[in-house]
Amino acid sequence: MWKTVVRRFLVMIPQLFVLSLLIFIMAKFMPGDPFTGLITPETDPARIEELRQKAGFYDPWYIQYINWMGNAFQGDFGRSYTFNQPVANLIGTRALNTFWLSLLSVVLLYLLAIPLGVLAGRYQDTLLDKSIVFYSFIVYAIPTFVLGLISLFFFGYELGWFPTSGTVDINAEAGTFGYVWSKFYHLLLPAMVFAVLGTTGVIQYLRTEIIDSKTMDYVRTARAKGIPNNKVYSRHIFRNSLLPIAAFLGFTITNLLGGSIFIETIFGYQGMGQLFVQAINGRDYSVITTLVMLFGFLTLLGSLLSDIIMSIVDPRIRID
């Protein structure tokens, strides 16, 4: 078991290395340098030259790469010139917002998907099952930004049930219950859009798992012992099907990160996805490189998490 985890971890290192190299090369192709933001009409070109030399702008690329990585490991990602603060601080506050959004989305996703998957599997081939399968097909086909916009228009503007942008009401005082509630209220609609869009995988997996379990020996044994039908489903089949769907958590994280770019832009939610779009539009390259690296790391972490959960659940894929 531990061997698998350690091995998967070791595989991550070269992947991260290649990713960082790719990002470094991309950063080299981006116009400007870290001092572009400091240049004003009064700046003496010689002074910029001096700064560049001091910062190693003319060093060979591999030395620059090593310095860049070294700084990154110490938490120094440079300065954002559009926001005029260190990138680490900027991303720190945004990351927290994205974290809350992702957390609520995952909770809602499983709250929605597990009952639907179980019902579809249990009442296989009934009208209920068919409607659930059809629902999961539709949400699979809808692009994130289309559902996001339509629900923002409908629930946010037309019905006025939800706030239409931002992370928290400007009048709310920090620390009070109202503040927390306002934050949660702003999270709710984007998180629901996320949750609805992510349900397909879990529903389909749970449904096939339950249909397959129905004919298994342990289920027949349970029935033979006279266990009521409801209990067979809730205790025996459901428990066996539950762990594998935990493995979807990893994929869900990956999807959330990709989707956050759209969702946060649409709902004006100040998280990392929105920051990325702002940074691209503002050509704020230190922010862009850090965000791509961070998202790459989180994506890898997500797939690592899936593999670890899978290896706990299914001993066959462990490396011994």
């Binding site: 539709i138 699979y140 692009p143 930004f145 990709g258 832009t265 791509v292 994506t299």
Partner: protein
Amino acid sequence: MAEKQTVDVEKKTPAASPPTGIQVIAREFAKDKLAMTSLLFLIVLITVIYVWSFLIDQEQLMRISLRDQMAAPGEKYWLGADKGGRDILGQLIIGARNSITIAISVTLITGIIGIAIGLITGYFGGWIDNIFMRIIDFFITIPSLMIIIVFISIVPKYTVVTFVLIMSVFLWVGTARLVRSKALSESRRDYINASKTMGTSDGVIIFKEMMPNLSSILIVEMTLNFAGNVGLETGLSYLGFGLPPSTPSLGTLVAYANDPFILENAWWNWLPASLLILLLMLAINYVGQAIRRSADARQRLG
């Protein structure tokens, strides 16, 4: 059970050959009314869009007319006009044509690359497979959406062609991985071994003998990729990282909704494009699902 069934069928119709891929797919569509409707809808829609877009004078369409600013849907403009007083319906047709064309080209490029690499790595195995699998593993673990956006923003001379190429660089991977796994199991079959013993060259085995046997899976993959590419292109254009501004796309029309005033008060600016994307995605995906079912004997309806 399955074996017995085939025996029965053969007894009843001894002369008939087993149904070919196209026949199986046709039977599946005949059985599934919704899939048939989706397919007809797609064919009609795409034909109408391409024919209509020929009749539209794009220069006149993009001419700004302040008198018609934000005109509501009515006699003059069936779907109203945008901030610049330009006809939404015309933009919708041109945008849909551009979006579909780009999705088709990306699908073809990634399909050809992905299928070729998948078949070759799956068939040969060994070190070729190892090298490509490492590359594919890497591509799968990177945040490709972000990297596509970064590439788009740093490419100096940005045109539709570069956009298609950048998307293709990152999208062949999924197809290659799927095709490889199928080719891997297919290459162990007896008919491949028999062909090898007869001295058939590898190229002929891969493309003339193995590929036709995988054709249904390839068609499914391409169809679903097509849907995915429509979604991705419109999504990128919506964010402003898609087609250059001179070429309208369904995504750029949806992007009108980034202005809260338009989102709230001028639904005709962005809703038709959103709904068209939605319908396109649903129809293509449904057709893809039906073909997928027909590729798997256990799931067939017909």
